[in-house]
C-alpha cells in the first residue's frame, strides 16, 4: 500500500481518459456492450427500422390525402382510405415504437450491468501496484461518476441517436422514391452539415478535453481537501481553502460554459441549415409543380420528408454534449479495463502442490518503481514450521518482504522458492491459497460473522469455522453477540471492538489453515485481557506452520526461532533474541530505545516479588 521513500515528484499516473483513443473507437466499443445479445439487437433494429419506416410513410399518406383534397375528382370516400391507412400506421408505430424502445431499454441496462461487472471483475484482477498509484476513494468516485455519465446518455440519448440514424437512412430512400430531382436538392445539405459538424467537433473536442481535465483537477482538489477537512479546520485554513476552491470552480465554470456552448451550437446551426433546405425545396418544388413536372402532393410529401430528414440530424447535435460526455466517461472506464495486471501467471503454469512450508529467499532484489531499489540482496531460508520475526524501522522493507512472498509484486532479481518451487513458476492463486494472512488493518466485510470466517476458504463447514473461532479465542465474544455467529457486521465491523475485529481476522486465517502464515501485527491498542487472548490465538494459529511475523512491538517476536532485522532494504542482523541482544548492535539499540532510559526502574521492579509473572 505504501511506496516508501519515493521522492516527491509529480508521478501521478492515475487513470486519465487517453485522448489518443478516438471518439469513434470509444463509442464503437461502448456500442459493442450494447449489442452483445444478437437476438435482442436484431429485434430492436428490425422494430426500430419498422418504426422509422412508418414514421416516414406517414407524410406520404398525408400527402396522398392532400392530393385527394386538391383533386377535383376527390371524394370523402377516397379520403377515408387514407384516413384509415394513417390510423393503421399510427397503430403500427405505437406497437413497433413500444417494442423497440422497450428492447433498447433492456439492452442499455444490460450493457451498463456488464460494464459494471467487467469493471469490478477487472479491478479485482489488477495487481496491487494499480492500487498504489491512486487512493481507493479517488478510484471509487471516478468509477461511479463515469458510469453515471454513461448511464445518463443510455437513459434516453442513445435511443435518440439510433432512431435518428435509422430515420435518416429511411427518409433518404423514401425521398428517392418520391422525387429524385428534389432528393438531389435535399441531399445537397448533407456535405454542408458534415462539414459543419467536423468544424464544431474540431472546436468543441479540445474544449471538452480541457473541461474534462479541469473537472478532474477540481474533483482531485475537493477529494483531497474533504478527506483532510479536519486538518483544514484545525489549522484555520477554511477561508483560504474556500477561496482556492472558488477559483478552481470558477475556472471550470468558464471552460465548461465554452465547451457546452460550442457543442450545443451545432443544434441551432443544423436547425438553420435544415430550414434553408426547406425553403430551397419549396422554391424548386414550386417551380416543378408550376412546370407540371411533379404533382402537388409530391411536393407536400417532399417538404415533410425534408423536415424529417434534417430533424434527426439536428436532434443528434442537440445532445452532442451528452455524446461527448459519455465518450469521455467511457474512455476512462476502458482505460481501466485495458490496464494489464503487472503480475501474471506464466502460460500453462501448474498449480502449486500442497506445501510443507519451507521458504527460501535467494538473493532477492526488488523495487516498486524501476530504478528505486527497495530490497537489496535479501537472502534467507526458513525451514518448515519455523517462526520468523521481522523488525526494523519504518520504511525499511518489512512489508515489502511480505508483499513479494505472496507475489503481489514480481521481483527484479533473484528468486523466492517455496518447498523448492519458484513462486513465479506456479499459478498465483494456488500460491495464495496456501498462505494464511493476518493483515495489519483488521478488514471485515459487512456480512455475518460466520460468513466472514468462511471467507478464508470456500466450502469450509460451520463446524470448522466455529472450531477456528474457538482456537482464536473469539468464540466467547461471538456467542455473546445478539445473534451469535449469524450476527451481521455493519460497516466493516463497526459494531464490535477493535480487539474483537483482530480476533476475527485471526480466526479467519485459522479457517484457511495452510502451512504458511504471514502476520502483520496490528498497531492499534487493545486492552490487556484482549491482548492476551489475541496473543494466545496467534500462538495457536502459528503452531505447526512456517510463520513470518512483522512486529511493531518487539515482545511479539522475542520467542522467534530467527529474527531478521531489516534496515534500508537489507537484512542487517539475524539470530534469536538472545543472540541479537548479545551483539549489542542495531537490534539492541532498537530494543533499548523502547525504555527511554527507564530500564533501571524496570529492573528495580523486577526485584519486587510478584511484580511480574
Amino acid at each position: 500500500m505504501k511506496i516508501p521513500n519515493t521522492p516527491a515528484i509529480g508521478s501521478k499516473s492515475g487513470i486519465k481518459g487517453s485522448s489518443k483513443e478516438s471518439l469513434g473507437r470509444v463509442l464503437g466499443r461502448l456500442l459493442g456492450y450494447l449489442t452483445r445479445q444478437r437476438g435482442r439487437t436484431a429485434l430492436m433494429l428490425v422494430t426500430m427500422f419498422g418504426y422509422a419506416c412508418m414514421l416516414a410513410v406517414l407524410p406520404a399518406l398525408v400527402g396522398e390525402a392532400f392530393n385527394v383534397l386538391t383533386n377535383s375528382a376527390g371524394s370523402l370516400a377516397s379520403l377515408w382510405i387514407y384516413l384509415l391507412l394513417i390510423l393503421v400506421s399510427g397503430g403500427c408505430i405505437w406497437l413497433l415504437g413500444y417494442i423497440s424502445q422497450r428492447t433498447l431499454a433492456h439492452m442499455a441496462q444490460d450493457a451498463l450491468l456488464w460494464l459494471r461487472k467487467d469493471l469490478f471483475a477487472h479491478i479485482q484482477v489488477l495487481s496491487l501496484n494499480f492500487f498504489d498509484r491512486q487512493p481507493i476513494g479517488e478510484l471509487m468516485s471516478r468509477v461511479t461518476n463515469d458510469i453515471d455519465i454513461i448511464e445518463q446518455f443510455f437513459r434516453a440519448g442513445i435511443m435518440q441517436v439510433l432512431q435518428s440514424v435509422l430515420t435518416i437512412v429511411i427518409i433518404f430512400a423514401a425521398m428517392l422514391i418520391v422525387s429524385s430531382e428534389l432528393t438531389f436538392v435535399a441531399i445537397l445539405i448533407v456535405p454542408v452539415i458534415l462539414f459543419l459538424s467536423w468544424l464544431i467537433s474540431r472546436i468543441a473536442g479540445p474544449a471538452y478535453e480541457r473541461m474534462q481535465a479541469e473537472t478532474a483537477e477540481m474533483n482531485g482538489f475537493a477529494e483531497e481537501r474533504l478527506a483532510g477537512q479536519k486538518v483544514v479546520t484545525a489549522y484555520r485554513q477554511q477561508n483560504s481553502t474556500s477561496h482556492f476552491f472558488a477559483e478552481i470552480s470558477n475556472r471550470l465554470c468558464r471552460t465548461s460554459t465554452r465547451a457546452q456552448f460550442t457543442a450545443l451550437l451545432s443544434g441551432p446551426a443544423t436547425g438553420l441549415l435544415s430550414n434553408l433546405e426547406f425553403i430551397v425545396i419549396t422554391i424548386v418544388g414550386g417551380a416543378l409543380v408550376i412546370g407540371a413536372k411533379i404533382p402537388m402532393g409530391d411536393l407536400v410529401s417532399m417538404l415533410a420528408y425534408s423536415q424529417q430528414f434534417t430533424a434527426p440530424l439536428s436532434q443528434i447535435f442537440r445532445i452532442y454534449n451528452q455524446i461527448l460526455g459519455a465518450a469521455a466517461g467511457a474512455a476512462r472506464v476502458f482505460s481501466i479495463l485495458d490496464e494489464q495486471p503487472s503480475v501474471r501467471d506464466r502460460e500453462n503454469a501448474p498449480a502449486l502442490p500442497t506445501i510443507r512450508g519451507g521458504v527460501v529467499f535467494d538473493h532477492v532484489d526488488f523495487s516498486y518503481t524501476p530504478g528505486r531499489t527497495v530490497l537489496r540482496d535479501n537472502d534467507f531460508a526458513a525451514l518448515p514450521g519455523q517462526y520468523f520475526g521481522l523488525c526494523g524501522p519504518t520504511g525499511a522493507g518489512k512489508s515489502t518482504i511480505i508483499n513479494i512472498l505472496t507475489r503481489y509484486y514480481d521481483l527484479e532479481h533473484g528468486q523466492i522458492r517455496v518447498d523448492d518451487t519458484a513462486i513465479d513458476s506456479v499459478q498465483q492463486d494456488s500460491l495464495r491459497r496456501q498462505i494464511a494472512q493476518v493483515l495489519q488493518e483488521p478488514f471485515l466485510f459487512s456480512d455475518t460473522i460466520l460468513e466472514n470466517l468462511r471467507y478464508a476458504r470456500e466450502g469450509a463447514t460451520d463446524q470448522e469455522c466455529i472450531a477456528a473461532a474457538q482456537q482464536a479465542n473469539a468464540d466467547e465474544f461471538i456467542q455473546r453477540q445478539p445473534e451469535g455467529y449469524q450476527t451481521t457486521l455493519v460497516d466493516g465491523g463497526a459494531n464490535i471492538s477493535q480487539g474483537q475485529r483482530q480476533m476475527l481476522t485471526i480466526a479467519r486465517a485459522m479457517v484457511a489453515n495452510p502451512h504458511l502464515l504471514i502476520l502483520d501485527e496490528a498497531t492499534s491498542n487493545v486492552d490487556t485481557r484482549t491482548e492476551k487472548l489475541i496473543q494466545e490465538g496467534l500462538l495457536h494459529l502459528s503452531q505447526g506452520k512456517t510463520s513470518f511475523v512483522i512486529a511493531h512491538r518487539l515482545s511479539t517476536i522475542r520467542g522467534a526461532d530467527q529474527i531478521l532485522v531489516v534496515n534500508k532494504g537489507g537484512i542487517i542482523e539475524r539470530g534469536t533474541h538472545a543472540d541479537l541482544m548479545a551483539q549489542k548492535g542495531f537490534y539492541y539499540n532498537l530494543f533499548m530505545s523502547q525504555f527511554r532510559g527507564k530500564l533501571a526502574t524496570v529492573t528495580g521492579l523486577a526485584a519486587e516479588p510478584g511484580g511480574a509473572s
Binding site: S11, H106, F120, K230, Y455, R553
Partner: protein
C-alpha cells in the same frame, strides 16, 4: 417538489434572464411554426396559382423566419448554458463553503466520500437538468400552445381537435412523472448498495487477494448490480410506452384534421386546402419537441433527488459555534494551563443528541509547560479527550478551561491559533513540501520551516529530494510513506508555534528510536509549551511528566511512569504486555 421550489428561489435575482430565455424559446417555436404557416400561403397563392413571384416573395419571409428562429435558439442556448454552469458553480461553492463551517461532528456524520458525491455527481445532475429545463422543457408545451394559437387563427373550426390533443398529452405526461419519480428513489437505494459493495471490494482488495476470493466478490457485486438493473429499467420502460402513445395521439389528431377539414372542403364551404395543410404540419412539427421532452424529463426527475441531497448538506448546522459573548484571546499572555472540570462527552447523532457517552467525569489539570501522556486501549476515549481542547467538539457536561477561561468564551479561531494539534490521520495536501509545513501559518519563514522539519525528523528525507522543500507533494501525499507523512504533519503542527501542542498518536508509524529523537527535539524547540501526547505504545509516553490512563471513557490512573508502576496494576499489565517483563533481558534465553 419542495426542494425544486427552493432551488428556484436561488434564481430570483436572475429571473429576468430566465424570462428572456423562455421568450427566446417561445420565439424560436413561433419561428419554427411560422415556416409551415408561410409555406401554406406559398402553396395556396403561389404553387396552386402557378405564380413564381409569389413563391419567391413568401420564400423570403420564410428565410427571415428561419434566421430569427436560429438567433432565438442560440440566445436561449447561451442563457441555458450560462444558467446551468453558473448554477453548478454556485452550488459547488455553497456546498464547499458549508463544509468549511462544519465542526468535526458534522464531518463525521456526512463522511467525506459522500460529500464528494454531493459536490460532483449531484451537482452534475442538477446542471444537466437546468440546461434541459431552459432549452427544452418548455419547448414542447410552447410548441403545442403556439400551434393551438395558430390553428385558432388560421382554421378556427379545427381548434377543438388541437385542444383535445393538448389535454391528452398533458395527462400522459402527468402519469409518467407520477410513475417515474418514486422509481428513481427506489433506484437510488440500489445504487447505494452497489457502491457499498464496490467500496468494500476496493478497500479490502488485499483480503480478497489473500484468500483468493475474487469469484465470490464478483458474485456479490453481480447480484447487487443486477438488482440495480431491475430498479433502473422501470423509468426507461415507462418512457418506452409514453413516447409511442403520444405519437399515436398525434396521428389521431392528424386524422381528425384531415377528416373534418376534408368534409368541409368537399361540402364546398370555401375551406382552403392550405389551411388544413398548415394545421397538419403544426401537428407534425410538434413531434420533434415532444421527443426531446422525453430526453429532458428523466434528467429533471433524476435531478430532483440530487437537489434534495444537496440541500440536506446546506441545511446542516455546525455543532460548535462561537457564542456572541466571546472575548478575544491574547496569545502573548497565554500560559497554557488546561483544566478539565467534571467533563462528560458523547458524539452527537444526526438528531443532535449524544448517542453514547464516550468520556465521563474527567477531572484533570495540565500545568503550563507540562508534558502529559494519555494511554489506553483503542476506543477508551484518548483521542476524544484531546479533540475537546481545540473545541472540535463541545462537552456535554462540565467545562474545560484554558488559563481559567471556559473554552466556549474564546473565539474558535483564536483558540486554534494557540492550540496546535497533529491529528491521528496524517493528511497532506498537494503542493510543495514547504507549503505543507507552513499550512497553518503561511507567513512562516524558510528558516522556521527548516528548523521545524529538523525537529520533526523530516529534514533527512526531504533534503534527499533534489528540490528539497520545493519538492512536490502528490495528492493526499501518496508519494510519501506513512511514517514520512506523520513526520511532515508534526513539522506542520510545530510551525504553528502553539502554546499548547497536541500529538494524537502522531508517531505510530515511526519506529521507537525515531520517535524518541522527535520527542527530544520537540522538547528543545518547544520550551514552555504544554504538550499532550496520545499514544498506543507505552514507550511514547514513558518520559512524560504525567501519564493519564483511560479506560471506557474514565480516568483510572494518573501519575508519572515510576508512580504508576507502583500504584496502578493496569499500567503494570500494559507495560508487561508491551515491553515484556523487562528482566527477561538479563535473564537471557531462560524464557
Amino acid at each position: 417538489m419542495k426542494q425544486i421550489k427552493r432551488l428556484l428561489a436561488i434564481y430570483k435575482p436572475y429571473w429576468g434572464w430566465f424570462a428572456l430565455s423562455q421568450l427566446m424559446v417561445l420565439g424560436a417555436v413561433f419561428a419554427t411554426l411560422l415556416l409551415p404557416a408561410i409555406n401554406g400561403h406559398l402553396i395556396n397563392n403561389g404553387v396552386l396559382a402557378k405564380n413564381m413571384q409569389v413563391i419567391i416573395y413568401y420564400a423570403g419571409w420564410m428565410l427571415l423566419a428561419a434566421v430569427f428562429g436560429v438567433v432565438f435558439d442560440i440566445v436561449s442556448t447561451v442563457i441555458g448554458v450560462r444558467f446551468s454552469e453558473q448554477t453548478a458553480h454556485y452550488l459547488r461553492k455553497r456546498i464547499f463553503d458549508k463544509v468549511q463551517t462544519m465542526s468535526f461532528g458534522n464531518i463525521d456524520r456526512f463522511r467525506p466520500s459522500d460529500l464528494l458525491v454531493r459536490l460532483t455527481s449531484d451537482v452534475q445532475n442538477v446542471k444537466m437538468a437546468v440546461l434541459q429545463a431552459i432549452t427544452t422543457l418548455f419547448q414542447a408545451p410552447f410548441m403545442l400552445l403556439a400551434a393551438l394559437v395558430l390553428v385558432a387563427i388560421q382554421a378556427p373550426s379545427l381548434f377543438w381537435i388541437m385542444l383535445v390533443m393538448l389535454v391528452v398529452i398533458g395527462i400522459l405526461l402527468a402519469v409518467y412523472v407520477k410513475v417515474v419519480a418514486p422509481a428513481y428513489i427506489a433506484r437510488q437505494k440500489k445504487l447505494d448498495r452497489v457502491n457499498q459493495v464496490l467500496r468494500e471490494g476496493l478497500a479490502g482488495v488485499r483480503v480478497v487477494k489473500a484468500f483468493v476470493r475474487q469469484p465470490f466478490e464478483n458474485h456479490r457485486f453481480d447480484s447487487a448490480a443486477k438488482e440495480l438493473r431491475t430498479a433502473s429499467i422501470i423509468p426507461q420502460l415507462t418512457l418506452s410506452w409514453l413516447i409511442p402513445t403520444v405519437l399515436l395521439a398525434l396521428f389521431l389528431g392528424i386524422d381528425a384534421i384531415l377528416y373534418f377539414g376534408g368534409t368541409k372542403i368537399f361540402s364546398g364551404s370555401g375551406f382552403q386546402v392550405g389551411e388544413v395543410l398548415a394545421a397538419a404540419q403544426y401537428f407534425i412539427a410538434c413531434i420533434g419537441p415532444l421527443v426531446m421532452l422525453a430526453v429532458a424529463l428523466p434528467m429533471i426527475t433524476a435531478a430532483s433527488a440530487s437537489i434534495e441531497r444537496i440541500f440536506r448538506v446546506l441545511d446542516d448546522i455546525a455543532d460548535v459555534q462561537d457564542r456572541p459573548d466571546v472575548r478575544p484571546l491574547d496569545p502573548q499572555a497565554l500560559r497554557g494551563r488546561i483544566a478539565f472540570e467534571n467533563v462528560s462527552f458523547g458524539y452527537l447523532d444526526s438528531a443532535g443528541k449524544p448517542s453514547s457517552t464516550v468520556l465521563e467525569g474527567i477531572n484533570l489539570v495540565v500545568e503550563p509547560g507540562q508534558t502529559v501522556g494519555f494511554l489506553g486501549t483503542t476506543g477508551s476515549g484518548k483521542s476524544s479527550l484531546v479533540n475537546l481542547i481545540p473545541r472540535f467538539y463541545d462537552v456535554i457536561a462540565g467545562r474545560i478551561t484554558l488559563d481559567g477561561v471556559d473554552l466556549r468564551e474564546i473565539p474558535q479561531d483564536d483558540l486554534r491559533k494557540s492550540v496546535g494539534i497533529c491529528l491521528q490521520e496524517a493528511n497532506l495536501f498537494s503542493g510543495t513540501i514547504g507549503e505543507n509545513i507552513k499550512f497553518g501559518r503561511p507567513e512562516a519563514t524558510d528558516d522556521e520551516i527548516l528548523t521545524y522539519a529538523r525537529a520533526a525528523d523530516a529534514s533527512g528525507f526531504v533534503e534527499a529530494i533534489p528540490e528539497q522543500y520545493e519538492g512536490r507533494v502528490a495528492r493526499r501525499g501518496t508519494n510519501f510513506s506513512g511514517g514520512q507523512r506523520q513526520r511532515l504533519s508534526i513539522a506542520r503542527a510545530l510551525t504553528l508555534k502553539p502554546k499548547v501542542l497536541i500529538l494524537d498518536d502522531s508517531t505510530s508509524a515511526c519506529d521507537v528510536s525515531t520517535e524518541a529523537q522527535i520527542q527530544d527535539a520537540i522538547k528543545d524547540q518547544m520550551q514552555g509549551v504544554t504538550q499532550l501526547l496520545v499514544a498506543q505504545r507505552i514507550s511514547t509516553v514513558i518520559t512524560a511528566d504525567k501519564i493519564v490512563l483511560l479506560e471506557h471513557g474514565r480516568m483510572v490512573a494518573e501519575g508519572n511512569h515510576e508512580q504508576l508502576l507502583v500504584s496502578s496494576p493496569l499500567y503494570r499489565e500494559i507495560y508487561d504486555s508491551q515491553l515484556g517483563s523487562g528482566m527477561v533481558v538479563s535473564a537471557g534465553g531462560g524464557a
